[in-house]
């Protein structure tokens, strides 16, 4: 059986230009390969600037890899063909406010994807948008709202609605839960887990929080300075981490808790 998503040696370099001279080459991501099965959840963890977001962007197509290929269902994805990609892979951005167009209503933004990827008429589009809104726990009224009228949690829901509206197979979330407070974060994670169950979506997410990762992920990928240092199932990485960094990232929460505990006692 072919894997759902196969990533072959993708890498990303940036050219830092200084005037007319060809500038220094900065490596954001060294060649990296991994694969993902249907319905699996992959968590990408690492320090700031370790290339986590770069992987997310490359898979979602927001950025073009310098080298390497991404295969979906045994078919190669063209990095410039957004239309081919967006039917199967969708992205949730880190900052929900900035990823919504301030001048368009929520409904118009959501039907944008349908307009370009389906041949439905306007009524069908509206119907589907309303259905999707209710799926993520928003009201039909929100169809006519502008992004600035919504709270951060609601904006995040709109972003999730935008990601699932085309019924993709993979959703990529780039630190999508950082800006939310714990209760809403829990709500939204549960929402995503429900959707995953209903629609069989594979989910790739970048996160700092070991709690969420342990709760949600099937596989974990640990990044350090643009390199993948560990990749395995959550079980294996928690019980038998090979690297010091893995242990620190996955157990930092425990350490924090222990620390808090002692300070409150004193």
């Amino acid at each position: 059986m072919t894997k759902l998503l196969e990533v072959h040696a993708i890498c990303k370099y940036y050219q830092q230009k200084q005037g007319w001279l060809p500038g220094r080459r900065i490596c954001a991501l060294e060649p990296i390969s991994f694969s993902l099965n249907k319905g699996e959840t992959l968590a990408i963890m690492g320090e700031t600037g370790s290339g986590k977001s770069t992987i997310a962007k490359l898979i979602a197509g927001a950025d073009v890899p310098s080298n390497g290929e991404i295969w979906l269902h045994g078919k190669r994805l063209d990095p410039h063909n957004y239309r081919q990609r967006c039917r199967d892979i969708r992205m949730i951005f880190q900052d929900s406010m900035r990823s919504l167009n301030p001048q368009l209503t929520i409904g118009k933004q959501l039907s944008e994807a349908l307009k370009f990827n389906t041949n439905w008429n306007l009524a069908q589009q509206t119907e589907h948008v309303l259905q999707t809104l209710s799926k993520v726990g928003l009201l039909p009224d929100h169809y006519h709202f502008y992004p600035h009228m919504l709270s951060t949690g609601q904006q995040q829901r709109v972003c999730i609605a935008r990601a699932i509206i085309l019924e993709p197979q993979i959703i990529v979330a780039d630190e999508a839960f950082v800006a939310l407070d714990p209760s809403i974060r829990a709500q939204i994670i549960n929402l995503i887990l429900d959707l995953q169950e209903d629609m069989g979506i594979s989910f790739i997410f970048v996160s700092h929080s070991p709690e969420i990762v342990k709760h949600v992920a099937d596989k974990i990928l640990i990044m350090h300075r643009g390199k993948m240092i560990e990749f395995g199932t959550t079980e294996a990485l928690i019980h038998n981490p090979q690297h010091q960094l893995t242990r620190m990232l996955l157990q930092s929460e425990l350490l924090n808790k222990a620390l808090k505990h002692t300070t409150t006692q004193e």
């Binding site: 957004y82 992205m91 990823s99 167009n101 301030p102 368009l104 994807a113 600035h148």
Partner: protein, 298 residues
């Protein structure tokens, strides 16, 4: 959404409406807006509302003072000039030359400048730079001077002035639109739309352009006031609109020798010019202030 609810409903305004609310909250901006709107209406209706044609001469009413003067007549509200032409009619007819033509030049420059600027903003590298700096040479010469050069070559006439002023205004539009596009292009919502599989044309017109309309509106108001002043200045120098036509700058120049004898022939067209330019500038300034206010609040 049809507002069918009979209950109290808190509705937040759309972003453009917010901008409008900011402007209406500023009394100076509103005064300027009403003055400008009034002048525009008078310009459009000038053939209907002006009591006489701009060239009818009343030989027995030469240099009649305005109506509020002791020797004035209500028949000639603004008085008459040295050839006995009704000044009110001339000022009204003149608005077509002094406001209508600059408006036309500005709109023409806006259409050309915005298209080139948007093209430059959507493209990358050398193509973008080339388009952006295409007409930069024109920016190095002051607009009035450039207009003088063009008129020196083509001869003094209204259409030459129009060509000169349109040419001068284009690079400013290109620059402001290009910069605005460049700023918006890499924002996340544009990337998100790109990932929706939108075409470039949709991205340009529906996604990015609504977010830079405020910049465009501001640029248009500033371009308009420049165009009005330039056409009036060229008229004053006798290089633009030619004498019998009631252009405000030309009227100022004609009345210069009789300024002690009949000050109203100079003051009234000057006042019209002053009010027009002032209202446009205040309006443009408050649009800019409102945009900044909105950016600060968001």
């Amino acid at each position: 959404m049809p507002n069918t609810s009979i209950y109290y409903q808190h509705r937040e305004p759309s972003p453009l409406r917010q901008l409008w609310l900011h402007i209406t909250a500023n009394p100076f901006a509103m005064v300027a807006f009403y003055i400008f709107a009034g002048i525009m209406v008078l310009m459009v209706l000038s053939p209907l509302v002006s009591p006489f044609s701009s060239e009818t001469q009343f030989s027995d009413h030469v240099l009649q003072p305005p109506a509020w003067h002791a020797e004035g007549q209500i028949r000639f509200l603004f008085g008459t000039d040295d050839l006995g032409r009704d000044l009110l009619s001339r000022v009204l007819h003149g608005s077509v030359y002094s406001l209508g033509y600059p408006l036309l030049a500005t709109l023409l420059a806006a259409v050309i400048g915005i298209s080139i600027g948007a093209w430059a903003g959507m493209s990358q590298g050398v193509q973008s730079s080339t388009l952006n700096h295409l007409l930069d040479v024109l920016l190095s010469i002051p607009s009035l001077l450039l207009a003088l050069v063009i008129i020196a070559i083509l001869g003094p006439a209204l259409h030459n002035v129009m060509i000169a002023i349109t040419l001068v205004l284009i690079p400013q539009f290109i620059h402001s639109v290009h910069n605005a596009f460049y700023e918006e292009r890499n924002k996340e919502y544009v990337v998100a739309s790109k990932l929706n599989g939108c075409t470039r044309w949709y991205l340009l017109t529906r996604v990015i352009f609504p977010n830079i309309t405020s910049v465009v509106v501001m640029q248009i108001t500033f371009a308009l006031s420049t165009a009005i002043l330039d056409i009036a200045a060229l008229g004053f120098l006798g290089l633009g609109v030619q004498a019998p036509a009631p252009e405000w700058g030309t009227m100022l120049a004609r009345s210069l020798d009789q300024v002690y004898l009949s000050p109203w022939t100079m003051v009234l067209p000057g006042l019209a010019l002053f009010l027009t330019v002032l209202s446009i500038n205040v309006l443009g300034d408050s649009v800019r202030a409102a945009i900044q206010e909105r950016i600060r609040n968001s």
